[in-house]
């Protein structure tokens, strides 16, 4: 993410003038970014819970979602609301294929080599994206105009509002799926115990593959939402994916609700750091916090400590 979603460092006088408003302003736009992080981070959690594997290249899937959005909206002038389901479904389908090729063959072997194979798929995606779209960053216009919407003195861009709304809707949709539908309940059952779930007549293999594809689709949605704020380029997702992982670790991979909260807070934190300090130090601080949090609570802030079995 070369150009952050925030405006650059402000002039000191401006800071003094705006005071509290400035604080809310940057916190709010930070939260919009945080919603993106949360969305991707939940994707890690979705695959982790059923397969104990992770897509190490989830950021590249964000990129793919963003680039597809760029192509469809800018090059083919398709309405964003039609683009969204196209992106979601195609990434879901590609996710199924990627799982079959890069995760499933190595999952049962009991080793962690799928770390490398999922990365390999990500590398492929970057180069293919460069071949299709080139390396040059291209702007994507916001879906609903550039005029900020004002709430009193605090303003928000329509795209940011869309991100927060869409991310929350996706998250609650996912939550509804997991808690209210029979299939979702079966997914949670597989997360608890694959063996026992299969005794219920649940095809656990299918659940595992679908979980992986859901994570890819979530990443695609995140790419769709974020690309107007950044630029469309093959490197778009790399750092996003990494940050989302940091958030998932801080919150605890098995705690999707905690992940969303952490994502939003982390976004606000980033906004404030780049607003008051400077953008360059933002990610350095963020990752350092992750490493420290890991030391203090390896199971995550919202995670449950697991007793090691002899």
């Amino acid at each position: 993410m070369r150009a952050g979603p925030h405006s650059g460092p402000h002039h000191p006088d401006e800071l003094l003038k705006s005071g509290m408003y400035f604080f809310f302003q940057i916190a709010l736009s930070g939260i919009a970014t945080g919603a993106i992080y949360g969305l991707i981070a939940v994707g890690y959690s979705v695959t982790f819970m059923t397969t104990k594997a992770l897509n190490f290249a989830l950021g590249m899937w964000v990129m793919l979602g963003g680039m597809l959005t760029y192509s469809l909206t800018v090059q083919y002038h398709v309405h964003p609301l039609i683009v969204l389901p196209i992106v979601t479904l195609s990434l879901f389908a590609l996710g199924l294929i990627a799982e079959r090729v890069s995760v499933f063959p190595f999952l049962r072997a009991g080793s962690d080599v799928w770390v490398m194979s999922t990365l390999a798929v990500g590398f492929l995606m970057i180069d293919v994206a460069e071949i299709i779209w080139g390396r040059n960053p291209t702007p994507v216009p916001p879906f609903f105009g550039k005029d900020p919407i004002y709430f009193g003195a605090v303003s928000i861009l329509p795209q940011q509002l869309l991100i927060i709304a869409a991310a929350c809707a996706t998250f609650f949709g996912l939550d509804f799926f997991y808690r209210r539908t029979l299939t979702g309940k079966a997914f949670r059952a597989v997360a608890h115990s694959g063996d026992v779930s299969s005794l219920m007549g649940i095809n656990t293999r299918r659940v595992e593959a679908t979980s992986y594809a859901i994570a890819c689709a979530l990443a695609g949605i995140a790419g769709f939402l974020v690309v107007p704020l950044t630029l469309a380029e093959p490197q778009l997702g790399t750092v996003l994916g990494l940050k989302a992982f940091a958030i998932a670790i801080i919150a605890g991979l098995a705690a999707p609700r905690g992940i969303l909260i952490c994502g939003l807070l982390y976004g606000a934190f980033e906004g404030l750091v780049s607003g008051y300090l400077y953008t360059g130090i933002r990610d350095i601080l963020g990752f350092s916090i992750m490493i420290i949090a890991l030391f203090l609570r390896p199971e995550g802030l919202f995670g449950v400590r697991q007793e090691e079995r002899a």
Partner: protein, 594 residues
């Protein structure tokens, strides 16, 4: 094959020495230097990822630490005449760079090694990214995206080492790195490192602080990478953040996996191949990632054990026969043990609301064989896990020889003389039988790492004596003839005995046997009983958790019976067998009981 080894090594040395002369061109010499440098980094990563099984995808960061440190130091010092004339600034820079990389390794390892497997890999990615970002952002020091240029060439006195000279320096360092790897891995330190990959819990059960060991390995690995980084800086004379991207870290891990993780030469072959390949594929520069991606997938699908795995001919040595057990030989070679008295008082432990142990207390007399029995779910495993330090009790005390002991973890338990075996065997994969025992033997020296590297006379003497002790133990258990067999080639019965041999190597005062007879046939169980009796003869205290009642009745001095997490009977074997509570607990409430 084995006899040809010295000849092969000599041939390799001669051809490596002659390479710059033969090819003439500086280009090939330059490639050789780069392969040597990357080879050193890959060897370091191999120790961590190949042998110890801990994936790191952040090694480019350690390389960067080394490179930037030496670049800054040498540039700052090169103006001074003392250094300018002696050339010492470069070597000082290399030393400092390696040290800084090792120190940052500590800084990362301490938090990062609290998590395992893929999470560790992800954290190292994040670390690598942070370092890369700092290199870009801290323009005042690192030069930002532009990097640092005109880094001094290494010199000896005033003689500047050009690439064709530096080649030989790197060659020497490269061979030194390989031999250091060899020394580490062949030593007892290295055995412990390799064992981590198979079962961390079993390594800690013999008294090794696994977390600390992993941190040490991580730091060694980081130092290799840092050292490689310093050489890289002086070879290139120019470094920038681009050299140390995430992709470089992937490069090193791929080199290790492609060449053969956990083989001595694999990482070198991998590094050489990965450097030469793109040189041959000039036209594909734009598709570099695709090439690497395919290479990763091909490696994982076709060469799961790397290139070196292809040469490792599958001669599965099935030496074992079930009839080889001759227990009780050479008892005199085992020195007596002061078996401790063990008392547990009011132990309670619950798991998520379910009470697994409630107010359990009993005493095991020093030097006796004490059995703990009870139906499924009675709490036996929980008890053995508490005494061996796997779980902490919610309440209650553990006393050894009358004084309370705190057992905070498995390695602490082992250090206090309480050592266990595992119901589900936890052996170290393809490591040999004797290595299992050598790992566990206590050492008189303070640092087995120092011994491994220095090979002092004292250390060599100690390793002689270790070999003797290990063989004596294998004799006792009747598996001495299997000394060189990989554990995963053993018959099941022999594996059980090996577990016990490993535990005995720690010289426990109290030995906890967790269902040692599980899966054994009658004849093997008789042999096991003989071993247990022998251990009692030399004074060891034994707690036996077992379902096989014939074994329990024939060896035990006393039996404690647990049911529903509480003690329901405690007494001599003959009484226990007639105890009404015990019969009910096992066979269920019945009218037929009368």
């Amino acid at each position: 094959m084995r006899g040809m080894r010295p000849a092969l090594i000599a041939l390799a040395l001669v051809s490596l020495t002659a390479l710059p002369l033969a090819t003439g061109g500086t280009y090939y010499t330059y490639l050789g230097v780069i392969i040597g440098i990357y080879g050193i980094v890959a060897v370091g990563l191999n120790i961590l990822s190949g042998y110890a099984g801990q994936f790191s995808l952040g090694h480019a960061a350690f390389m960067a630490m080394g490179a930037y440190t030496t670049a800054l130091i040498t540039k700052a010092l090169s103006g001074s005449p003392v250094f300018y004339l002696s050339g010492a600034h470069v070597w000082l820079g290399i030393l400092c760079g390696t040290t800084v990389a090792a120190l940052s390794g500590i800084l990362l390892a301490i938090p990062a090694l609290r998590v395992r497997g893929p999470y560790l890999a992800m954290v190292t990615i994040a670390f690598g990214w942070v370092v890369w970002k700092i290199l870009q952002e801290w323009v005042g020091v690192t030069g930002g995206d532009l990097g640092i240029s005109s880094i001094p060439k290494p010199q000896i006195g005033t003689f500047r080492l050009e690439t064709r000279h530096f080649y030989y320096v790197v060659l020497v360092f490269f061979i030194a790195a390989l031999s250091l790897q060899h020394r580490l891995i062949a030593s007892r330190f290295g055995m412990r490192v390799r064992a981590i990959k198979y079962s961390e819990i079993a390594v800690s059960s013999v008294g090794v602080d696994v977390y600390r060991l992993k941190v040490v390995v991580f730091v060694i690995s980081a130092a290799f990478a840092g050292f490689g980084g310093t050489l890289f800086a002086h070879q290139q004379n120019y470094i920038s953040p681009d050299n140390f991207q995430f992709f470089s870290s992937v490069f090193f891990l791929l080199a290790v996996l492609f060449g053969g993780a956990g083989t001595s030469l694999g990482p070198v072959i991998g590094a050489a191949f990965l450097i030469i390949l793109p040189e041959m594929l000039h036209d594909f520069d734009h598709y570099r990632l695709i090439v690497y991606a395919c290479l990763i997938l091909i490696t994982l699908y076709v060469l799961p054990r790397g290139v070196m795995g292809l040469f490792d001919l599958p001669v599965k040595r099935k030496i074992d026969t079930r009839a080889g057990i001759q227990p009780g030989e050479r008892i005199e070679s085992l020195p007596p043990v002061a078996g401790a008295n063990l008392r547990v008082e009011a132990l309670s432990r619950s798991f998520g609301g379910l009470l697994a142990l409630s107010d359990v207390g009993f005493e095991i007399e020093g030097g006796s064989i004490h059995a703990l029995i009870g139906p499924n779910g009675a709490g036996k495993t929980t008890l053995i896990n508490i005494v061996s330090g796997v779980y902490r009790p919610d309440s209650g005390r553990i006393l050894m020889d009358g004084s309370e002991v705190s057992i905070s973890s498995m390695h602490v338990a082992a250090q206090r003389g309480i050592v266990r075996t595992f119901q589900t065997l936890k052996l170290f994969g393809d490591m040999t039988v004797i290595e299992h025992v050598l790992i566990a033997l206590p050492s008189r020296s303070r640092s087995i790492l120092y011994d491994a590297v220095m090979r002092s006379r004292r250390a060599r003497e100690e390793s002689e004596s270790h070999l003797h002790q290990a063989r004596a133990l294998l004799h006792l258990l009747g598996i001495a003839h299997l000394e060189q067999a990989p554990a995963n080639s053993l018959a099941y019965g022999h594996r059980r005995l090996l577990e016990i041999a490993r535990a005995l190597a720690v010289r426990p005062r109290i030995l906890l046997l967790d269902e040692p007879a599980a899966g054994l046939v009658a004849e093997e169980i008789r042999a096991l009983a003989a071993v247990i009796r022998t251990l009692k003869q030399i004074g060891m205290t034994i707690l036996l958790v077992e379902h096989h009642m014939e074994l329990v009745l024939s060896v035990s001095d006393r039996i404690t019976v647990l049911d529903h997490g509480a003690v329901i009977a405690d007494g001599r074997p003959a009484d226990i067998r007639r105890n009404e509570n015990v019969i009910q607990a096992y066979l269920g409430p019945s009218h037929a009981a009368a």
